[in-house]
């Protein structure tokens, strides 16, 4: 079948042109109505938060960079390397390789400990399932959200990085704030 250009022309049905007063209102009235909001903000003054010099405090249940914990009394790691966090992780960004505690090298309380514990922050979606899955409260989500880096491989956080007390860069919202 040959193509007939006429068959592809679509007739557009337009409404009536307002014209006259109606047209003038549409040009000026509606525009001014929109600008009213803008002018009202001008008198209020600036509202910009000067990030990164200034930061909005995060809420206590904010889910930022993870932290691994140690027992305060014994100094042993809470993590036993059970890998449940890795199982729960929907982004598959946690890798755990467990090993056995010995009397000479006791790392955690139980029989096993995590010899390798890595979180790939470039994949993490901060859903917090790892925290929920952990049977020993060994991993929690912290408040830090400033994780950008120049190198993808630097975004793989090792156990030592996660255990270390993080630099406090993000203020936590105080009670009732």
């Amino acid at each position: 079948m040959t193509w007939n250009p006429d068959s592809d022309v679509v007739e557009v049905a337009r409404g009536p042109e307002p014209g006259g007063l109606g047209g003038a209102y549409r040009v000026f009235g509606e525009t001014l109505r929109g600008l009213k909001t803008s002018f009202m903000r001008v008198v209020e003054g600036t509202h910009t938060v000067e990030y990164p010099e200034e930061k909005i405090p995060v809420y206590p249940r904010w889910r930022g960079r993870h932290k691994l914990h140690k027992f305060e009394d014994t100094g042993l790691e809470k993590c036993v390397g059970c890998s449940l966090c890795a199982a729960a992780c929907p982004a598959d960004c946690i890798r755990v390789v467990a090993a056995e505690n010995t009397d000479e090298n006791r790392v955690s309380g139980g029989e096993r400990y995590a010899a390798v514990y890595e979180i790939n922050m470039s994949r993490c979606i901060f859903c917090g399932y790892c925290e929920i899955a952990c049977p020993f409260d060994a991993i929690t989500m912290g408040s830090d959200f400033e994780l950008a880096d120049y190198n993808r491989s630097d975004l793989i956080f090792t156990k030592e990085m996660l255990l270390a007390e993080p630099m406090v860069r993000t203020p936590l919202r105080a009670e009732g704030e």
């Binding site: 059970c82 890998s83 449940l84 890795a86 467990a98 090993a99 056995e100 139980g110 029989e111 049977p135």
Partner: protein, 833 residues
């Protein structure tokens, strides 16, 4: 006992009409109707159910009390309810009871994630416990053996492991101590549970009480992938499933195939994967430089190999080890016949059989399957020790005897592990297999000079006659499991006579008539010996047992010719003849005299280390791709589970490369293309594809193409007078055996190292007393001026006048004492060191 006919019956479970074979246990039959009944102690592989855990309680109409589904066979018209409140309450209570003493330390437990107790507690438990008292405590974890850790707190006393030890492997080591709530599993006196099949209890354990020391804390079920393949360490070719984490094998599990392994694995198959990741393994090609093997580039190694083969000018000998796949063997054959122009290649360690005899022994009509061993009227184990040569067969034979009343007879020179199960055990002099088979033939037929032949074999006449009578009268389903070494005699005529005698005796018993359930089953010395034989990787047999135009040298003749300078170069495919073939001295001389030796090896065993000029790395079991043929004719497929070490070529590519570099025609771009080449070349493999082989393999005898099997020699077979065993006359006859633990994989796997055998001389206590030797003492065994030192091991069952030494132990092997030319086995003297 032949296989029983099983009727189908109909019963009702949870309101569904289900058809099931009569006699099936309810727990299994319900599955046919998609009803899941939880079980812990029930495992059909372990035989009769015990009903120990009470998890499977169901209500059966007409029976007032709840019944255990695992031990109640279904009957026609039975009405079963697994869902009503009474059953539910029972299930919840049982779970609660089982968890009373269970520590619930799932996060640290290795079973976590693949634990039936977790699954059943989740699916059938009430979710909370009312138990507030302290749980029982044990020291944990304890080493049950260097391979297995036991955590007694987690044990729910299902008896599975104890039943395995008592009723399946019959090593009688595991027992339950104490009574009631104090019961715990262990060996009687607390010694380590070391047995050839001990690893199976870890797979049987439904909780984390028995865990693998090697796999301990290595991975979680969600960290790993399972990859099915076939174990390539022995002719048993058990189906395995490799557990892979981060492209490394971390565990081996069975992959139940009732026609091959019945769902069991030996410890060698289970732990030898570790040898893949040791530093001693050959990681890349090596070339000899200034007398030492040094790592080299692939280009250099390949060109050196090409130069060696080229320079030999057609005078090349090749050996294919039993571990070679069909594809590797086929390319080696093509390399030799098409490119090098030499017929000097062999896949047997010793001995020669004509194509006709070989075909008669391997004919589909004469072939028994592994499953036949379970249901035969009688089984004769002839000149082989299953637990060493093909371990998984040992369990099958025990199963047949224990559960189906198979009458077992054992005829070997060394006392066998199966003797306690055998109705009849006959001993003959080491190396007198030929004479014994002739005597057996006479006894079965009731004709000829049984007394004379039995005397020649060094066997007891009455025992041989009793054996003949037993086989004749047991019934029509008789299976003879015979060891390939019966035909390994130095003189080919002796081996051929043994084969003819075996065929003649089998003919008398009606084993060659194609009756299903009766026949011969060979236990070869190499893993894929049958496949290599059928491809014609033999000096005197072509593909599919055809008669070749030209006959070459056999293994032993290659060694002699190499020592004499007639064969210049040697190509060793996955084999080190110095370490593993008989005639150690001869092979040392042959390899030393050869101008060039090309080897494919995983480990630098002594012969390779000293003599190879080029070494190509062999793939480990989990890296291999190709097909292998089981001794009963089942083609099975090897699938690579993990990648090869960086930059390594598979063996078939190395061989392909050599073929093209030497001017041959390359035909294979993939391993699968070689398989189809094989399918074209071997008439009775015609049309076989990887798809058809599938996950569980296919026996070529069951395919239409098996009609193309060539007619082998047919009777009547005439026998010649066998070589008589020498009388000890003050000295001792030397017998040899190869332990299941004697292999480079065992020696290099960290977990198995402790099992690597040390030389021991097995003696009868009376013979020892005559020489003033005590058990455990160091002795020297001497023959013709060569000696081997060993530890004396006195066995009452050991026959008088013989001493048994292990092979495969380097220069301390029995093979160091076996003389090259003698037709009768060597006589040795044993004295305290």
């Amino acid at each position: 006992m032949p296989r029983p006919e099983i009727d189908q019956i109909t019963f009702t479970v949870d309101g569904r009409e289900v058809e099931a074979p009569a006699g099936t246990m309810l727990a299994d039959a319900a599955k046919l109707g998609d009803v899941d009944i939880p079980v812990f102690c029930y495992e059909p592989k372990l035989g009769a159910p015990v009903g120990a855990c009470r998890m499977c309680l169901v209500e059966i109409e007409g029976i007032p009390k709840l019944q255990t589904a695992c031990s109640t066979p279904v009957r026609d018209g039975m009405v079963v309810d697994t869902q009503n409140p009474r059953v539910k309450a029972a299930q919840e209570s049982v779970v609660e009871f089982l968890l009373l003493n269970h520590p619930l330390d799932c996060p640290v437990c290795d079973k976590g994630g693949e634990c039936p107790l977790q699954d059943i507690s989740f699916g059938w438990g009430r979710g909370e416990s009312r138990f507030v008292e302290p749980k029982r405590h044990f020291q944990k974890p304890v080493e049950l053996s260097p391979l297995i850790a036991i955590d007694r707190e987690r044990c729910i006393l299902c008896y599975r492991c104890v039943r395995f030890s008592q009723e399946v492997s019959e090593d009688y080591q595991l027992v339950l101590h104490e009574r009631g709530a104090d019961t715990f599993v262990g060996t009687f006196d607390g010694h380590p549970y070391v047995a050839p099949f001990s690893g199976n209890i870890m797979e049987l354990c439904p909780v984390g009480a028995l865990t693998s020391q090697a796999y301990r804390f290595r991975a979680r079920p969600w960290d790993i992938e399972q990859s099915g393949s076939v174990c390539t360490l022995c002719p048993g070719q058990c189906n395995v499933s490799y557990t892979v984490r981060d492209d490394r094998v971390v565990r081996v599990l069975n992959r139940q195939n009732d026609d091959v392994d019945d769902g069991w694995l030996c410890d060698r198959g289970r732990f030898a994967y570790q040898s893949t990741y040791v530093d001693e393994r050959v990681q890349g090609p090596m070339v000899r430089e200034n007398g030492r093997l040094v790592p080299s580039s692939w280009d250099r190694a390949l060109s050196t190999a090409v130069d060696i083969i080229d320079a030999a000018d057609g005078r090349v000998g090749a050996l294919a080890g039993g571990g070679s796949s069909n594809e590797d063997g086929w390319l080696l054959r093509r390399l030799m016949t098409e490119v090098v122009g030499s017929r000097d290649f062999d896949s047997r360690p010793a001995g020669v059989l004509s194509a006709g005899l070989q075909a008669a022994l391997d004919a589909p009509e004469a072939q028994a399957t592994v499953a036949d061993l379970e249901w035969a009227h009688a089984v004769l184990v002839l000149d082989t020790e299953p637990v060493d040569d093909m371990p998984v067969l040992d369990l099958r034979l025990r199963k047949g005897v224990r559960r189906n009343g198979v009458r077992l007879a054992v005829a070997t020179s060394r006392p066998s592990a199966l003797d306690p199960n055998a109705e009849l055990s006959v001993r003959f002099a080491p190396g007198a297999g030929e004479a014994f088979v002739c005597a057996l033939d006479a006894a079965v037929g009731g004709v000829g000079d049984v007394a004379g032949l039995a005397a020649a074999a060094g066997a007891d006449r009455e025992a041989v006659e009793a054996l003949g009578r037993m086989l004749r009268e047991a019934g029509e389903d008789v299976v003879v499991v015979w060891g390939e070494r019966l035909t390994h005699a130095a003189d080919p005529e002796v081996g051929a006579n043994a084969a003819r005698a075996l065929l003649k005796a089998s003919g008398r018993l009606g084993l060659l008539d194609g009756r299903r359930g009766a026949g011969l089953l060979q236990v070869p010395t190499g893993m894929n010996a049958r496949g290599l034989r059928e491809l014609g990787v033999l000096p005197n047999v072509g593909p599919g047992y055809s008669e070749p135009a030209q006959v070459g040298r056999s293994s032993r003749e290659i060694a002699v010719a190499a020592a004499a300078g007639e064969v210049r170069a040697l190509h060793l495919l996955h084999v080190d003849p110095v370490a593993s073939y008989p005639d150690r001295a001869l092979w040392e001389a042959g390899l030393a005299a050869a101008t060039g030796v090309v080897a494919h090896a995983s480990f630098l065993t002594e012969g390779v280390l000293e003599h190879a000029d080029v070494v190509f790395p062999s793939e480990a079991g989990a890296e291999k791709e190709g097909t292998v043929t089981h001794p009963d004719g089942r083609l099975q497929r090897l699938r690579p589970a993990v990648g090869k070490p960086e930059g390594t070529l598979p063996t078939w590519q190395v061989l392909s490369h050599l073929i093209t570099a030497l001017g041959g025609r390359a035909t294979a771009l993939t391993s699968m293309m070689i398989t189809s080449e094989i399918a074209e070349a071997v008439p009775f493999y015609a049309g076989i594809t990887h798809d058809e082989i599938g996950g569980f393999g296919i026996r070529w005898q069951e395919r239409e193409a098996s009609d193309a099997f060539p007619a082998g020699d047919s009777g009547p077979f005439s026998l010649v007078a066998p070589v008589a065993a020498a009388s000890p006359n003050g000295a001792l006859r030397l017998g040899s055996f190869r332990s299941v633990w004697s292999s480079p994989e065992v020696a290099h796997a960290p977990a198995l190292k402790f099992l690597a055998p040390k030389q021991r001389a097995e003696l009868n206590p009376d013979d020892a007393a005559d020489r003033g030797i005590r058990h455990g003492q160091r002795v020297t065994v001497t023959a013709d001026g060569t000696s081997v030192s060993a530890t004396a091991h006195l066995r009452t069952a050991s026959p008088r006048g013989s001493v048994f030494l292990e092979t495969g132990l380097g220069d301390q092997s029995a093979s160091a004492l076996q003389s090259t030319e003698a037709t009768v086995p060597s006589m040795v003297t044993v004295e305290s060191a």
